[in-house]
Symmetry: C3
Subunit: 208 residues, 3 copies
């Protein structure tokens, strides 16, 4: 199995778990779980493939990610009540999925010979769009809007670090992927655990 496929499968699986957890918070039925799991699982990669005119879209070429998403949804439907805090699981799984999906976006765009800014955008878009769609449809506050948390920054940092490694230090592509996943997840985890953040914009009146 190629690296790209592995990353697409892994991010589909983890994102599917977060989609199913969002469905559990909305108290949907099992088909609702599968719907949100599949949507979150393939959302980011689908946009990436449409933008890069990759034909066919990855899950049309090989629908396994849909099967993975459905299995993840069923698993969550029957076990989520065992979790202490579903929101905490959602956020941490989302961090892992974000990290893997950013790497998948960077990897595909690099393979297609895209320019550096486009590779960075594809990393960030592939990482964030699945979760964003999940949150907008499920009526949750999108994670990109959480003040004082690194989210887009983590995705951008991971993508940038892996490109830096490739271009400046000539690391192996597989290591570039490891760097991307590690930096993205590290920044996000640091933000969640230790409150790492960038200064946020503050005006005098908070919402003028």
């Amino acid at each position: 199995m190629t690296l790209t496929l592995t990353l697409d499968y892994a991010s589909a699986l983890i994102f599917a778990l977060t989609g199913a957890l969002a469905a559990s918070r909305a108290q949907l039925d099992i088909v609702g779980f599968i719907f949100f799991a599949a949507l979150t699982a393939v959302g980011g990669g689908t946009l990436r493939d449409l933008l890069l005119d990759r034909d066919p879209v990855f899950w049309i070429a090989d629908p396994s990610p849909l099967g993975i998403a459905a299995a993840a949804a069923v698993l969550v439907f029957f076990t989520a009540h065992l979790l202490e805090s579903r929101l905490k699981w959602l956020v941490w799984l989302d961090a892992a999925a974000l990290a893997v999906a950013v790497a998948a976006g960077v990897d595909v765009a690099r393979d297609l010979g895209a320019s550096t800014p486009v590779i960075l955008v594809m990393g960030v878009a592939t990482g964030t769009v699945g979760g964003l769609t999940r949150d907008v449809i499920a009526n949750e506050v999108p994670l990109v809007l959480k003040q004082g948390e690194l989210y887009v920054t983590a995705a951008f940092g991971g993508a940038a670090a892996s490109l830096l490694g490739l271009r400046l230090f000539d690391v192996d592509p597989i290591w570039a992927t490891v760097i991307c996943v590690a930096v993205t997840f590290g920044l996000r985890a640091g933000s969640l655990l230790f409150g790492w953040q960038l200064p946020v914009y503050r005006s005098r009146p908070p919402r003028a």
Copy 2:
């Protein structure tokens, strides 16, 4: 006129009526009615065509669905005040549009020789995305989020039933379409009228 075109036209018309009703609930002007009517009318089929790389997208090849949507919007603008409950009409017309659009999605994907899981996804996506976009933009609770109602399930059931008919019982494609529309609408109507539902997920604390 081919079967696919008929289905695309019919779902455009009925979805346009629901979009215009949503616009009436938001008290927009006539152009706002046309905007929501057109968006709802072609949203699902547009995503289907982009995903399947059908070129050109159906309403670019033949813009009649836009004209149908505009006409439906004007009709609703001048007659909606005669309706007892616009919300009820919206929900029932949406059920009809869902049924027809699922069939349109299944039909196109089947024609292009897509695999079974992809056909099912195209049916569900074509059926649900127009109404979903309408609800997200118009700030209504998306119908896919309504607890204890069959919606995605109805779409999935209709698509699956028609494939079952085709693959196992070798029915004529036109009958497969009839089955798809009937099962989708039947499940949705049963849910609205008799409260048919699948068990929903319930945790101890409702939203942890």
Copy 3:
């Protein structure tokens, strides 16, 4: 530089400013500003290019709009506190960006030989989708939903006026663009300043 490119760059710049202002209202960090600026800057043109199967999408062919958006985001991050009312700036810059983006949509669709209804839709879609995505994700009320304001109407009017000029009076394409920008902005500005509006739909009970 071609006319299309100039329009795409200009609308990217102005829409980026509105995206950054929306980010300031959500009190995000600088990367959040860049995210919203880029999303708003290229959203409408990206949908246009996907729908018209223009390959590659404009900012993938030439990523300058991304750089423009990032620069605009940084500028707003450090200067927005100087503005009297960020909401007022957002709305007026959005009017300017709308006008330019509608012209960009009309121009591209015309170049590709699209039919009249498709040109009108591309104008409206290119003009409105960037701001719409910004508002949906940033949890603001979409400007298309503001009652008694011309928004989609302004976009539609500008696109229609420029086509009228081209088809009936055979004006030069560059003048058609000027007409499109002027009519769109004029209608929107008249609506904001003088309360120009079309009659809105009113039912007996406001939200039945």
